[in-house]
């Protein structure tokens, strides 16, 4: 008997894997959303800029021919909204396999500029909001005893350099938070991946001067997806930033504080 029947996508035996991306309207988050969509994921996408987010969802859904991505407009600094929004997303997706925190801001800080409002906002978006989100997500992963938490931190968190104190501080805090989370959760079967991108061609980069060749967000997204599949703990993207940061981390302070980069 020949019977070629098209299998409906949602089936309890092979349901679509699910992912949440906080900060999905542009850059690495956007590229990652497309990558996950291509790999057959059902997505909850969050970002502040509603129009960009809706356009991305529409594009993904059109390509898939069905609703795969749903937009949840959200400003991560509205900490009070986070628990309710998380519960709504969990109910809509029914379960969460991968949770990605990607949102980030970077201000241009001039030499001798000390502006607490910039410091505060940077810390809120880059360090406190991920804690607020992951404090919601972690208990679910812990109960399920499986899944991936992915934090898009930065090479900037590896050392405090002269250029941008709040950015370095916030990313260092995020990286350490992720490490703590990993140490807590790995014994329960949950994987936590810290991603440290170097220069990636995103809106953020327009504020900085790339001193080394940047990669595309798509390349970064591919690296991240592969790292998830391989259950890596920390990755640099592109990989050679790992070598650079290994050296940078070991530059003694008496030299490092005289350096301009």
């Amino acid at each position: 008997m020949t019977m070629e029947t098209k299998l409906p996508v949602e089936h309890p035996l092979n349901p679509l894997p699910t992912a949440v991306i906080v900060g999905a309207s542009s850059g690495i988050g956007e590229a990652l959303a497309r990558k996950f969509a291509d790999e057959g994921y059902k997505l909850a996408l969050l970002a502040r800029r509603e129009d960009l987010l809706n356009a991305l969802c529409e594009e993904i859904n059109q390509k898939a021919g069905e609703i795969r991505a749903t937009a949840y407009p959200h400003d991560v600094t509205n900490f009070d909204q986070i628990p309710a929004l998380f519960q709504k997303i969990l109910q809509d997706l029914q379960t969460i396999d991968i949770f990605v925190y990607n949102s980030g801001v970077m201000y241009t800080i001039k030499e001798s500029e000390y502006d607490f409002s910039k410091d505060l906002h940077t810390m809120q978006v880059n360090a406190l909001a991920p804690m607020a989100w992951l404090d919601q997500a972690a208990p679910v992963f812990e109960q399920m005893g499986s899944g991936h938490i992915v934090g898009i931190s930065s090479v900037a968190g590896d050392r405090g350099r002269v250029g941008n104190p709040p950015y370095h501080t916030s990313k260092a805090a995020f990286s350490v938070f992720l490490e703590s989370l990993r140490n807590r959760m790995s014994r329960r079967g949950v994987h936590v991946l810290t991603v440290k991108p170097g220069y990636v061609k995103t809106a953020l980069l327009e504020l900085a001067v790339a001193k080394l060749p940047p990669i595309t967000p798509e390349k970064a997204a591919n690296d991240i997806y592969r790292a998830i599949r391989r259950k890596r703990q920390t990755i640099y993207t592109p990989w050679w930033w790992g070598t650079i940061m290994l050296i940078v981390q070991h530059i003694p302070s008496f030299i490092f504080r005289r350096m301009s980069f």
Binding site: T5, E10, P12, L13, A84, L90, Q94, G145
Partner: protein
């Protein structure tokens, strides 16, 4: 949205009986109807979904609401009234089948309809409107309900009988907990004069023989066939073993009080007095792969065919009825990926062709069933009725983690074979239905009526399970 009910401390990894699905849910285990009413009110206000769960013995996703609240009713398990003269019992939905027979048996009453395991709750059994090995003779469990009260998500509590609130009576029973919560059930038990049955067992060489024997035995008190679903070839396909049983008549059992005592009904917890049953599943696990299951089925059939053939013997009601409880935790033997059951109900005329095609198709796909059971059925008037004037074939399949997609595809193909044979399905067992198949077997009219009734009693769509989202989206 939000609210104080979906707290982290309530998170729980919920699995199905077959251990093939796991979802995070917020778990609540109410003890009183008022708590349920309160949860319905909060759900309406805050927009979260609620799923109802009895003992969690459904094979698929019938009692899981991923990301939502799951109400586990196993603490609402009081027996409210019992009349040993008439055999009428009133109970809460969380009363289990085991609790029921232990309570009524020594007065000489047994449930006219019993599922193959004593673990489920009455609420769950009525939600799925279960049947036993006597569906032809006694119908489904719902046919023996005299009255029930149901709390609807809109806050109203209704009393329903086959005459009063008839539409709710025939749809809440079989409605898979999607219309309301049973809060009390009045049920008619059946008089028995002994705790024992007279059982006849014999082998049949193929599917034709099994179906003919089951049809001939349909007016016995119990009538069931086991199939070797791994057997191939025209001569052996669907070979198996038949069991029929009859209740002992008044006076046949010299000491009925003795045989009706629950203590004398209890199954031994060791095999041959030595091997503890609690470890048996671990040994079964070693044999549950295609070749091992083939060998086990062949060995069983050979035994049935030779030394066990044409035997008549006395067996206790509990041992005969609750065969699935003989090996505790047997479902764990299927390993990490768990198992699913695929049960189809096919009219008498098309059953042989359809079941034959199903068996051949599973063997062709390299995913044979390791256990098959055949029963005889009659239609009923309940909304999500699974029964037909015909036969059912229940097949257990292992879910190897790497072959989930392949198995999903195969069950989808089986759905088409069953539909071509004019067959039906059963939500309590299901892991394979999709909205188009549901509409095809229930009929568009039934689905539309269900949606209309649901919109009336549950206007905010609070009661939702994963099965509901899958089959009625």
């Amino acid at each position: 949205m939000a609210g104080n009910m979906l707290t982290k401390e309530r998170l729980y990894k919920m699995e199905n009986f077959g251990h093939s699905i796991e979802k995070p849910v917020y778990l609540y285990r109410p003890t009183h109807t008022e708590q349920v009413a309160d949860i319905f009110q909060q759900a309406t206000k805050e927009g979260f979904r609620v799923g109802l769960r009895g003992a969690g013995r459904s094979y698929g996703d019938a009692a899981i609401t991923g990301g939502g609240v799951v109400l586990d009713f196993t603490r609402m398990n009081r027996i409210l009234a019992w009349n040993p003269e008439t055999g009428v019992i009133k109970m809460e939905p969380g009363v289990t089948i085991e609790q029921l027979w232990r309570y009524t048996m020594e007065d000489g009453w047994w449930s006219p309809v019993m599922p193959g395991t004593m673990r489920p709750t009455i609420g769950g059994c009525l939600g799925a409107n279960v049947h036993g090995k006597n569906n032809w003779k006694q119908g489904t469990m719902g046919e023996h309900v005299l009255e029930f009260s149901v709390l609807l998500p809109n806050g109203k509590e209704k009393v329903c009988t086959p005459e009063k609130n008839k539409d709710l009576f025939y749809s809440v029973i079989s409605g898979m907990g999607l219309l309301g919560v049973l809060t009390s059930i009045t049920y008619q038990m059946k008089r028995v004069y002994s705790g024992s049955l007279e059982v006849k067992a014999w082998a049949e060489p193929n599917l034709t023989g099994v179906l003919r024997a089951i049809d001939e035995g349909k007016d016995e008190d119990y009538d069931v066939g086991w199939l070797d679903s791994t057997a191939r070839g025209r001569r052996s396909l669907g070979r198996g073993q038949m069991h029929t049983a009859r209740y002992l008549k008044e006076g046949e059992d010299p000491y009925p009080y003795q045989t009706l005592l629950p203590m004398n009904q209890d199954l031994p917890d060791t095999i041959m007095g030595i091997v503890p049953k609690s470890i048996v599943w671990r040994f079964m696990k070693l044999g549950l792969f295609n070749l091992g299951a083939w060998a086990a089925n062949l060995a069983k059939y050979t035994m049935n065919r030779t030394i066990g053939n044409h035997k008549t013997y006395i067996q206790s009601l509990v041992a005969f009825t609750f065969l699935l409880d003989y090996v505790p935790n047997w479902e764990l033997a299927y390993g990490r990926g768990g198992l699913i059951q695929y049960q189809s109900f096919v009219p008498k005329d098309t059953a042989e062709d359809t079941f034959g095609e199903i068996l051949r198709h599973t063997q062709r796909r390299g995913l044979p069933s390791y256990l098959g059971v055949v029963k005889r059925h009659r239609p009923d008037h309940f909304m999500f009725s699974h029964a037909v004037d015909g036969f059912s074939l229940a097949l257990d399949f292992k879910v190897p983690p790497r072959k989930r997609a392949k198995l999903a595809k195969m069950t989808h193909e089986l759905n088409q074979i069953v539909l071509e044979g004019g067959g039906r399905f059963y939500f309590a067992k299901d892991s394979a239905l999709t909205p188009d198949v549901v509409e095809a077997y229930l009929g568009g009219e039934t689905v539309a009526e269900f949606k209309k009734l649901k919109a009336k009693v549950d206007p905010n769509g609070i009661l939702q399970t994963d099965l509901y989202r899958r089959c009625f989206r």
